[in-house]
């Protein structure tokens, strides 16, 4: 019951989604619509689950007075603030001038954007400390990186001209690398990943791969 039914659901739904590609006619197209709608609703509930779990963990941390529990209070209060405002404002919650829109523009946006912007510093620092042309492969990587970094910004061509190269030469080299060698490498990776995805999907549908069900 706890493992057999999920395995059966996976097999039926998986086989259906393979079949609907080849038979886009009733009843497959109608079932496809229903299944896609259900997927959408389950997806929303899964994200709700994640959010509610975060609140549960934070509340537990406060209850047990674990270290830095004060920040868990901040997490819960921030969550409640945006949820209360978002629910109160109704279907038009995103309209310009709404409280939700204000929170999005002045709190969510700067926090999320800066969090990712920090990576710029660490990329540079890591490159300085660890990016070494130790062998031929690493040297190829380094030279390609230099050419792309220079060729994709205007200053690259200016440097090329100062070195006596014809105008727009470095940018043309970068375009060529991207359209040929990079395409070839990415295509090999793409095909390799696709074959892996197909075989894993088959193993899942056939019930050979069951790790997603977890342990008993």
């Amino acid at each position: 019951m706890r493992r057999e039914i999920p395995l059966l659901i996976t097999a039926i739904v998986g086989i259906f989604f393979v079949l609907q590609y080849f038979i886009p006619h009733p009843p497959f197209n109608r079932l496809n619509g229903w299944f896609s709608d259900w997927f959408s609703i389950i997806g929303a509930c899964a994200i709700w689950l994640g959010a509610l779990n975060l609140i549960r963990i934070s509340a537990d941390k406060i209850y047990r007075k674990r270290s830095d529990w004060g920040f868990s209070v901040v997490i819960i209060l921030s969550f409640l603030l945006i949820v209360v405002i978002g629910f109160k404002e109704g279907r038009d919650f995103r309209n310009p001038g709404s409280g939700f829109d204000w929170l999005y523009n002045f709190i969510y946006t700067p926090l999320s954007a800066t969090m990712f912007a920090l990576l710029a510093f660490f990329v540079a620092s890591a490159s300085y400390r660890a990016f070494r042309a130790r062998n031929l492969e690493a040297s190829l990587l380094l030279v390609a990186a230099f050419l792309v970094m220079l060729g994709r910004v205007p200053v690259g061509d200016a440097i090329g001209v100062s070195l006596g190269l014809p105008e727009t030469n470095i940018s043309k080299v970068a375009v060529w690398i991207m359209n040929t060698i990079n395409t070839a490498g990415q295509r090999a990776i793409l095909i390799g990943i696709a074959l892996g995805v197909v075989s894993t999907s088959l193993r899942i549908i056939l019930g050979i791969e069951r790790s997603y069900l977890g342990s008993e």
């Binding site: 279907r91 510093f121 540079a124 220079l150 205007p154």
Partner: protein, 337 residues
């Protein structure tokens, strides 16, 4: 909070107040001053180079400082740089200008604020180009933040005099269908019926009440699609479902970090044009002759690349030259083992 932390916070507050109220605005460096700054930075880099060869690697905070300078200082400079146009960017432009007035363009916003510096300029230029050519825009998103970013871009686009003079109306000239969860399943469902996934628009107006999309049943009623992507679900899923299965003609604007993965699709013509990162946005602004933020940011982008390259060269020089000098020292000491 430690005493050191408190001091650091006070210093930050003082600097902020100074910059906010005591410094004359705006600041703009002349070309001469800009070159002096560049020369000074180059000199300091040279000193770092020498010190690193001597075996003194600089701390990570020094590298952070240089990255900060490389990004911030060019924002005040008045240096202009010619931007070369790559064929993949021109393809997007050509695809848009080939559309007849009244054609319907679907724009999917699949990104969030962290990727906005790269993708927002693309969105703004794309909207401006489409609306100036009387194309109709249908907006949607597979990321919840996407349609909100679209609203920001559209508000800005509508302020341009040539667009404002057209008196464009929501629901007739452009529409925002909002967000729906389900990733590639949403795209697949749209292949059959848009309305089933978007029964209402962003603000809850019923799909059939919107004149622009009333007769749009599925992808076959869309003349061109442009997809702004920062990850999953993104361009890969749109290519797999909308392009390969339903025959949608689509171009894409991607964050630079995932652009390289899109070239196989571009070469296989599953994509009609590709804008990659801030550079792609700047090239698109040049192609459309609508200079905006991306072009302005390219000076900072150039400087930051140079700084990263410089630090990699310094690190490698230290690695190889330092290695040799170590060996020489060992040999001189009679060691060598």
């Amino acid at each position: 909070m430690t005493r050191g932390e408190l001091m650091a916070y006070l210093v930050i507050v003082a600097v902020v107040l100074l910059l906010a109220f005591a410094v004359p605005k705006p600041i703009s460096f002349s070309t001469t001053v800009s070159y002096i700054i560049v020369g000074f930075i180059a000199l300091v880099l040279l000193i770092i180079f020498v010190r690193t060869i001597q075996g003194n690697m600089v701390g990570r905070r020094i590298v952070f400082l240089f990255v900060g300078m490389a990004v911030i200082l060019p924002l005040f400079m008045t240096i202009s740089q010619p931007i070369p146009l790559s064929p993949e960017v021109k393809q997007v432009y050509d695809a848009v200008v080939a559309l007849k007035p009244g054609s319907k363009v679907l724009v999917s916003f699949d990104y969030d604020p962290p990727s906005a510096p790269e993708l927002q300029p693309m969105a703004e230029t794309f909207f401006r180009l489409c609306l100036s050519r009387d194309l109709k825009i249908v907006i949607m998103g597979l990321w919840p933040q996407g349609p909100q970013q679209a609203e920001i871009a559209m508000r800005k686009t509508l302020e341009y005099p040539e667009i404002a003079s057209k008196n464009l109306r929501y629901g007739i000239d452009y529409v925002n269908l909002g967000f729906q969860t389900g990733n590639e399943f949403v795209i697949q469902r749209m292949g059959g019926d848009f309305k089933s996934m978007f029964p209402t628009d962003l603000n809850g107006t019923a799909y059939d009440s919107l004149p622009l999309v009333r007769n749009v049943r599925n992808f076959s009623n869309i003349d061109y699609a442009f997809h702004l992507s920062a990850g999953y679900p993104g361009t890969v899923e749109w290519v797999q479902v909308a392009v390969d299965r339903y025959g949608l003609k689509m171009g894409a604007g991607n964050t630079a970090v995932q652009t390289t993965q899109m070239y196989p699709y571009l070469r296989a013509r599953q994509l009609v044009g590709l804008l990659g990162g801030l550079n792609g946005a700047a090239e698109f602004e040049r192609a459309a002759d609508m200079i905006g933020k991306a072009t302005k940011f390219m000076v900072s982008q150039s400087f930051s690349h140079i700084i990263v390259i410089a630090f990699i060269i310094i690190g490698n020089a230290a690695f190889f030259l330092g290695d040799k000098s170590r060996k020489r020292k060992q040999e001189a000491a009679g060691g060598g083992h």
